[in-house]
Amino acid sequence: MIHFVLLVSRQGKVRLAKWYSAYSQKERAKLIRELSAIILTRAPKLCNFVEWMGLKVVYKRYAGLYFCMCIDQDDNELEIIDIIHHYVEILDRYFSSVCELDLIFNFHKAYYILDEILIAGVLQESSKRVVGRLIDAQDSLVEIAKEQASLVSSIIAQATK
């Protein structure tokens, strides 16, 4: 299973961190520090895998962002690379050619999308279309809710005038 997903920029800044196994805040900080030190310094041509504390971390670089996933010893690393890529492709569709800035300002949306792809540390949906549809449904509902809210507040505002 996937123990955590980490997006780290080339400068070592965390862009997204999702934990599927229990780690305390302290452990998280330590782990991020250690891992980014290892991964950011690796030369470009080497394996996309790092063995780490009895687990394996699969990472892949997209522009200035490193997508990392930590998995068990007996998981398939190549599959994880493609899960990462799957995620990036969906992000790309959603933000229409996603860039790091999109993720910085809309990190919560990146989380929502990740929640539709991975659940409890395993891949739950491998169809881009299905994920896209769900996210859109959620977004549109949110939009409707927003409109309603503003409508209600305007009505209240008028009434209280």
Binding site: Y62, E77, C99, S126, Q138, L141
Partner: protein
């Protein structure tokens, strides 16, 4: 803009993100975040914050926490937000709590109620949000609260809900298998779900269930096989295709399950052969995902009942992986090889050179994987080479976790396959010297036991040789600074026990060394204790043989110092030493018999030897002894004695304190004290330890005998690689001696003889090449048992040389891949000398631009300029063939993905996806427009990241 890249947050938040993005140091960032935390703390607790504002605060909390700061003050507000009726707020609330809270958090109990309510909602999106939270937050205790609803949702009309419900049950199963034991049939039912997503999700819990209990699911083999067949035949909806592969993630899961079901079951395996064979044939090996499936096929093939045809296909794929330029594939190849050699060990041989290449690769990950493979294929014939390599690597790394692992592997292999006692001791010395503090203390005890007992043979001579060689090596090592404590304990013990045994070293020499140790490591009490006891033993042996004991002055001062030590343990030992020295030879010999560490010590628990004395005392009118139980029983009754008990207990507590002091060192020490306290006068720690090990002794001795039997056969082989000193017998086979000469010759003077022997001619003029190849060849021979015949080796030389030449150029990392690719191409056609000549200058000249292309790229914002400059750099600096230049260029632009070149930057791994890539590219028709809009928006917001990170605007997908 809505979701499409617009930023729905307030200016304040954008400014926060921006200022953090521009922070120059961690300290500055921390300051900003702390300030933000203060603001949030204040705002969030204001009474009537509007809900929309509140939502943003929660998201800001998530941000703060993501940056590694504590946002726990706001957790309760996130929990509150989950109660909200609006989906938008609810979703934010759930997101925040799933990120903030672990399942053991106290606040969980406040959410369970909300989750229960939401699971019943009419809106399936609310249900989905709740199920996401269920997967993350529900713990063993709260499972029953939501379980009935989750089970009900398995029949929900929306597939997304069914899928998540399955996953939630899977999570429950992981948390507490008993809670969902009665629901297992549901998983089987969902396997037939109409929706492929739900079916795929069901495979996860089934995999777990099957892992635990294979036999109950054998009936599903046929279903799994037929599902896999249908998937492979593209019967699933197109939307499940991924890079032209039909539902690859489902295929991988199915293969994993089949590996479990077919393991050791011929009948089940036979059902699988066809479909696995089909996948082998159909799989597109040029894409990453195709290789992922192929790898999973190999895992499956090596796990199920062996089928020669499939094994052959698997071996082909492994060969392809290992020959690939991609480190990822090499890594997978090594791993797959490790799996397949369990069923067909002969496969390893044909890949020996590839394996050695991986072993020498600069990539640590690959190296470690290769060590794992070597560990799996260690035999008595190659143990020396492998363990030596492992130790060398172990010395070179800093990662304590891995160091521990590799050290324990070395120990394990050495114990299992040691060809000679001497080698074993040497190896253990090295392991202890470099990783002593990391290995288990038991390993040290094992070593002591081994030295004391020998290898379980009845040859006393060999045993004493072993001991004296151990003593000698320790005396050599002992002077080195900063030895690990565990190792020093072993050294002290061995020196004490056997230091003077063979008469080579005088007692004063050994005691001097021991005193040095005790002084040098004066804050390590355990070591000091070992040293003192060893001193005592040496003096005792001296006295027993009738020699006069002259205590060295430094020894005397040490003892005096220790007899005033804070540690009662050390004090006791010091006093005992002084007492023993004062005794006469006969008494000493009884107390401290020489070389008796293996003798059984019988403990007379009843102290029967005192019977006569006690009898006498009773006759003289003493009170008979009353056992403690009886005494305390009486105490309860009589008030009078109660006082006594008080006294006793107070005495108890006093004594307790006294013994408390040395506690810190207690766990790490062999339990001598317990014995010492019972017998008071005979404070010999070893017997108690040995008595303990006595029980274990029988089993290792069996295995030892075993290994020693095997050892006989490999005396010859050992010579091939091993140092000449190890070789104890002269009866090596002729082939190995000839090998040895090859070895020496090649070392002494370069090339001539080696070439005439091993290679034909053409490229023999290249010295380094030949040397490496012959060295590699030897390494290969020693690793792979040398079972490859000489003619066979000859035939592989061409290949080797190709590799070797590539290796020679490999050192400067940057151009490795291109050169290697040419080298691989020319494996059969031998590499013309020109190539190498050309190769080296290119390495030197092209390295400046390729050292860190990113740095360069970052400095230049204009993408076109960047590419042109890179191109320029490459072309200008590189006189090599075009192919190479091209390769370098793509290789560089791959990861850095410059905008101007969308296709090359598509993805690093799969150029084959051009199809889909183009499709997405097309769908992104207004691409530039979009990014322009984004850019404009960002600038409008005032968020213009300074030029030091233009990457922010770069499309992730190229």
């Amino acid at each position: 803009m809505g979701s499409q890249g617009g930023f729905g947050q307030s200016k304040e938040f954008l400014d926060l993100v921006k200022s953090i993005g521009e922070a120059r140091s961690k300290a500055e960032e921390d300051r900003i975040v702390l300030h933000e935390i203060e603001t949030l703390k204040r705002r969030i607790s204001e009474p009537d914050t509007p809900k929309r504002k509140m939502k943003e605060y929660i998201i800001r909390l998530v941000y703060v926490e993501m940056l590694g700061h504590d946002a726990s003050f706001g957790y309760i507000h996130a929990v509150k937000m989950t109660h909200d009726d609006s989906l938008s707020l609810k979703r934010t609330g759930y997101l925040a709590v799933t990120l903030f809270l672990n399942e053991d958090h106290d606040l969980i109990i406040l959410i369970v109620n909300t989750i229960q309510k939401d699971l019943k909602s009419d809106n399936y999106l609310v249900v989905c949000a709740a199920l996401n939270a269920v997967c993350r937050l529900i713990n063993e205790e709260t499972i029953p609260a939501v379980l009935p609803q989750v089970v009900e949702l398995l029949g929900h009309s929306k597939e997304a809900v069914r899928k998540k419900a399955i996953m939630a049950l899977h999570r429950f199963y992981q948390k507490s298998p008993s809670s969902v034991q009665h629901l297992v049939s549901n998983f089987r039912k969902r396997l037939c779900d109409n929706d492929p997503g739900v079916m795929g999700a069901t495979l996860c819990p089934l995999f777990d269930l099957i892992t635990i209990d294979v036999n109950s699911y054998k009936d599903l083999v046929i279903s799994f096989v037929s599902i896999l067949k249908q998937v492979a035949e593209r019967r699933l909806p197109k939307s499940y295709d991924y890079h032209q592969m039909p539902a690859p993630f489902v295929q991988i899961r199915l293969l994993k399950i089949m590996a479990l079901l077919g393991s050791g079951d011929k009948q089940a395996s036979e059902n699988m052969y066809t479909v696995v064979g089909d996948i082998f044939r159909k799989c597109d090996s040029s894409s990453n995902i195709g290789n992922a499936i192929l790898y999973e096929c190999i895992c499956c093939v090596s796990s199920i009942y062996p089928n020669p045809k499939l094994i052959e296909s698997a071996a082909d794929v492994i060969a392809r992986f290992l020959k690939s330029d991609s480190h990822n594939l090499k890594y997978m190849g090594i791993d797959a090889l490790g799996r397949l050699i369990k069923t067909s060990p002969e496969i390893a041989e044909q890949h020996q050179l590839a394996v050695i290449d991986c072993l020498e690769d600069p990539d640590d990950t690959l190296k470690r994987k290769t060590f794992e493979l070597l560990y799996k294929m260690t035999k008595c014939t190659n143990v020396e080479v492998i363990v030596d390599r492992m130790i060398d690597y172990m010395i070179s790394i800093n990662d304590n976790h891995y160091k521990t692992e590799i050290a324990s592997r070395c120990v394990e292999l050495a114990e299992q396959f040691a060809p000679s006692n001497h080698w074993f001791i040497q190896t253990m010395n090295k392991v202890f010297e470099h990783a002593g503090d990391l290995v288990n203390i038991k390993v040290a005890h094992n070593l002591m036991r081994l030295i004391a007992e020998g290898f379980g043979e009845d040859d006393d001579n060999a045993d004493s040789q072993l001991r004296s060689s151990a003593v000698e090596s320790y005396l050599r090592i002992i002077g080195e600074p900063k030895l690990p404590s565990v190792f020093l304990q072993v050294i002290c013990w061995v020196l004490g026990e056997y230091g003077t045994a063979d008469g080579k070293f005088s007692a004063s020499y050994i005691t001097g060394k021991l005193c040095d140790v005790a002084e040098a490591y004066s804050n390590d009490e355990t070591v000091k204790a070992y040293a003192v006891t060893s001193l005592m033993k040496i003096y005792a042996f001296e006295i027993a043989t009738g020699r006069k004991v002259d205590m060295l002055p430094e020894c005397q001062s040490l003892i005096e110092e220790l007899s005033a030590s804070h540690s009662t343990d050390l004090q006791q030992r010091a006093y005992e030493l002084q007492a023993v020295i004062g005794l006469d030879a006969r008494a000493v010999e009884i107390i401290m018999p020489s070389d008796a560490s293996c003798e059984d010590i019988e403990i007379d628990k009843n102290l029967s030897f005192l019977n006569g004395y006690v009898q006498q005392a009773i006759e003289k009118g003493a009170q008979p002894y009353i056992s403690e139980n009886e005494r305390s029983g009486m105490l309860n009754i009589s008030n009078f004695r109660n006082q006594d008990q008080h006294e006793a207990s107070s005495m108890h507590s006093l004594r307790f304190e006294a013994y408390e002091l040395p506690k810190p060192s207690m766990p790490s020490r062999i339990p001598p004290v317990s014995l010492a306290s019972t017998t008071e006068l005979v404070p010999v720690p070893e017997p108690s330890y040995l008595r303990e090990t006595q029980k274990v002794a029988s089993s290792p001795s069996v295995s030892n005998a075993d290994s020693s039997e095997l050892r006989l056969r490999l005396d010859g082989v050992q010579k091939k690689w091993g140092r000449p000193t190890y070789s104890s017998s002269e009866t090596s086979t002729s082939s190995s001696t000839s090998q040895k000469t090859v070895n020496e010759v090649s070392k002494v003077d370069g090339t001539g003889t080696v070439n005439s022997k091993a290679h034909d001619n053409s490229y023999s003029s290249r010295k380094p090449q030949v040397e490496i190849s012959s060295e590699k060849q030897k390494l290969a021979a020693s690793l792979f048992g040398g079972s490859s015949k000489t003619d066979k080796r000859g035939s592989t030389v061409g290949h080797k040389a190709g590799k070797a030449s590539s290796h020679a150029v490999e050192k400067p990392q940057t151009t490795k891949a291109p050169v290697k690719s040419t080298a691989v191409e020319t494996i059969v056609v031998q590499p013309p000398p020109d190539l190498l000549d050309l190769g080296e200058p290119t390495v030197v000249s092209s390295s400046p631009p390729s050292v860190d292309p990113f740095k360069q790229l970052e400095g230049l914002i204009e993408p076109t300029q960047v590419t042109s400059s890179v191109n320029h750099g490459v072309v200008g600096a590189n006189k090599s063939p075009d192919l190479m230049g091209l390769y370098v260029e793509t290789a560089e632009s791959g990861p850095s993905t410059d905008d101007a070149n969308p296709l090359s930057g598509l993805t690093n791994s799969d150029f084959k996806n051009a199809h889909e890539g183009i499709a997405t590219q097309l769908s992104k028709g207004p691409n530039t427009k979009h990014s322009l809009e984004k850019d404009a928006l960002v600038r409008q917001m005032g968020v213009t990241p300074t030029s030091h990170n233009p990457n922010l605007f770069k499309d992730l997908l190229g």
